[in-house]
Symmetry: C2
Subunit: 424 residues, 2 copies
């Protein structure tokens, strides 16, 4: 394999990052039109060469089957003409988004005559570390290139053949455009050591964004010396207050759990005011049972829902991403807030209540990227927020928090015009 040849001669990771950094200085100069034309060329290439990608994907699927990969993971990995068309359309959607690079965010005219503009610039080189889904390869490449950033991708080894072929197709496409081919790099070394090396490339990578499960993110956060944008892990709660309206509470909590349990903005724990629980938990529990959701509850919950099992402290901290729900009954909103502060991951939290004062208090007190009054936590998403794209959902507080659209992939720079000013 190619990466073996490179490893023998030096580090694949470092040499590709160096190529990306060098290309980033060219990318930095391109106009929006030049970048959009390149994205369009990439989209067309995916369509025209879809067969080669499907063939490569079959290798990954076959290897996965031999290794006993669960069918749900194989499903996520599998590509077909429709999924490749969706990738191409994704690139075309990115074309239609406004380019944030060059935007003037602030203009300051100083008394001494200095004119200071704060402008958006690309971050430089972005590292993306992700798991099996090959559509991330195209999506991340498109978002980074649109914002004038070079990108070093490191996908999961389960999708290596697919990713390699996708990048080969995109490289051929870029060769006829103004975006340098080197601006798009993929690390082929399937060993974990290639991830570790990426995390230490200070001076070459300006940021690393992990996209994947908790252990992947934890590894990146713990070991990176380059700046990281932490994404994803979501232990999200819905709190049904005393005054909540039954139908709304039922619809919102069901939607938050079962509309798509596998994603980070789905609910893991339902917190219920004791007064509401006494009246309505039997009905609510029945709706979850019908939706095939297993319930794990606190003692008061078990007294009302005999078929639920006891929830442990570990359960309350777990992102199930599955048809399992913790239930916790509380005496008041304060207890709900304490539970969320203890077990939440500062992702998305919701209160269902008819009392606006309680809602405002909840929104003020909860420390999370997105706090909802009377709406499903499932809306925490760049597309649902109207950003038109999403590179991930940041669960940290620096740089970006919540759904990250194109501006999250930029930095700023001050340009200052003078006519001889010196400091006294």
């Amino acid at each position: 394999m190619l990466w073996e040849v490179i490893s023998m001669n030096g580090s694949e990771v470092r040499s590709k990052a160096e190529l990306a950094k060098s290309a980033s200085t060219v990318l930095n100069r391109l106009t929006t039109a030049q970048k959009n034309i390149a994205l369009g060329t990439m989209a067309n290439a995916l369509r025209q060469e879809q067969q080669s990608i499907i063939t490569a994907n079959a290798e990954d699927l076959e290897r996965g089957r031999q290794q006993g990969t669960p069918s749900s993971l194989l499903d996520r990995l599998a590509l077909n003409p429709e999924r490749i068309e969706a990738m191409a359309e994704g690139l075309e959607q990115i074309i239609s988004l406004p380019d944030p690079v060059g935007d003037v965010l602030e203009t300051i005219d100083r008394p001494n005559g200095l004119r200071i503009d704060k402008i958006r610039v690309p971050l430089g080189v972005i590292g993306i570390i992700y798991e099996a889904r090959p559509n991330v390869t195209v999506d991340a490449a498109g978002l980074c290139l649109k914002t004038g950033n070079a990108v070093v991708l490191r996908g999961g080894s389960a999708a290596l053949s697919s990713n390699r072929q996708i990048i080969e197709v995109l490289h051929r496409a870029l060769a006829s455009t103004d975006i340098p081919v080197d601006a798009l790099q993929i690390i082929e070394d399937p060993n974990r050591s290639s991830v570790d090396e990426m995390l230490k490339l200070n001076g070459l990578l300006d940021v690393v964004i992990p996209r994947g499960g908790r252990s992947l993110i934890q590894n990146v956060v713990t070991n990176a010396t380059v700046p990281v944008i932490e994404t994803g892990a979501g232990v999200c709660h819905t709190y049904i207050d005393e005054t909540a309206e039954l139908t709304m509470a039922t619809e919102i909590s069901l939607n938050a759990k079962v509309q798509r349990p596998s994603v980070c903005n789905s609910m893991e724990t339902l917190i219920i005011h004791e007064a509401f629980a006494a009246l309505h938990l039997p009905h609510l529990a029945e709706q979850f049972r019908k939706a095939n959701v297993e319930l794990r509850g606190c003692e008061p919950t078990l007294a009302i829902v005999p078929w639920a099992t006891a929830a442990t402290s570990e359960d309350y901290g777990t992102e199930y991403n599955d048809y399992i729900l913790n239930v916790k009954i509380v005496n008041n909103i304060q207890e709900a807030l304490s539970h969320i502060a203890q077990y939440g991951t500062q992702h998305s939290e919701c209160i269902v209540t008819e009392d606006k004062t309680q809602a405002d208090y909840f929104i003020q007190e909860v420390d999370a990227a997105a706090v909802y009054h009377n709406a499903s936590t499932r809306f925490t998403d760049g597309f649902e927020f109207g950003y038109g794209a999403e590179i991930g959902i940041s669960t940290q507080k620096l740089h970006a928090r919540g759904p990250m659209g194109l501006p999250s992939l930029t930095s700023t720079k001050y340009r200052i015009y003078g006519n001889g000013q010196i400091r006294r």
Copy 2:
């Protein structure tokens, strides 16, 4: 000493960070008026109890003298009534600045009726790691508290007595205000291990900001697992282009070097177009000689300025913070840009030219927090930019870049109002 008692019973660093985190949830709720009143009380307390601070400072100075600390460092450490008055006035200036917390940065009305507000919120708990100057203790405390953040300070051991007394005074002041005393913490353990422990307090500290020399910053960047805002190191250049006006070029480059050589935005290397150098370097060099600046140059420089010594590659990468200047003669702007890309720290860079096209090209191509046309790099500063305060100058690209005012100490949060919306 107190920290020894605490270390015996557990970790001083962790327990103080836990107190700060707990206090941050109270601070988060305070109004601007409540915070400003507390800052005013702190300022008055510094004035009223200045003698106790000067007495404690004398201990630090005496210990420093015994340890043979250079007099320039003792000067930075020394406190007197004027310097304490300046600290108090610094707090009063922070009172007058607008409070960014609660600002609505973006409002999105979605077709499904969801109303999304992106609002500024405090970061939470900020760790500041700094060196000897005790004024940073007051300044950092004021900026963090104004923005609703709790703060864990870890100053240099040389200023331990001064810092401990300052905090004691400020704690007594806070006790009569709405800001919890625990929101302001100082680590007293003088061992390096207390810094290392701070850097790993994920979940307690939301960010660590190092303020100090290169080795301090390098240690923080390398070892931190909590997010870091890298500040400070500045190898800044001034490039004198072919068409530069002689008087302006002389004034700007002299100012950038000698107005205050010890700070990060001062110039370390002067790059000169060969045509300008041939005509004017003798005059320019003479001005630097009169200002007691040692010159280290490339070969062509040495041919023109015989008293200069040869600059090594290491010299070009050194932040002297002293009366030493590297000189590099180039054939064209491209060479100047390459030199800056190789040796610069992405802090502040300047071009002196009468050619606006060259200036715009330089500003576009240089990757730095601040890029100047015809003005001294010494202006890279929160006060000079009109921000009224500065927690540091970020030399990284994430979250904040360049002089950091109060908004740099905030994060954001989405609050979303619905009336039963669920995701389809």
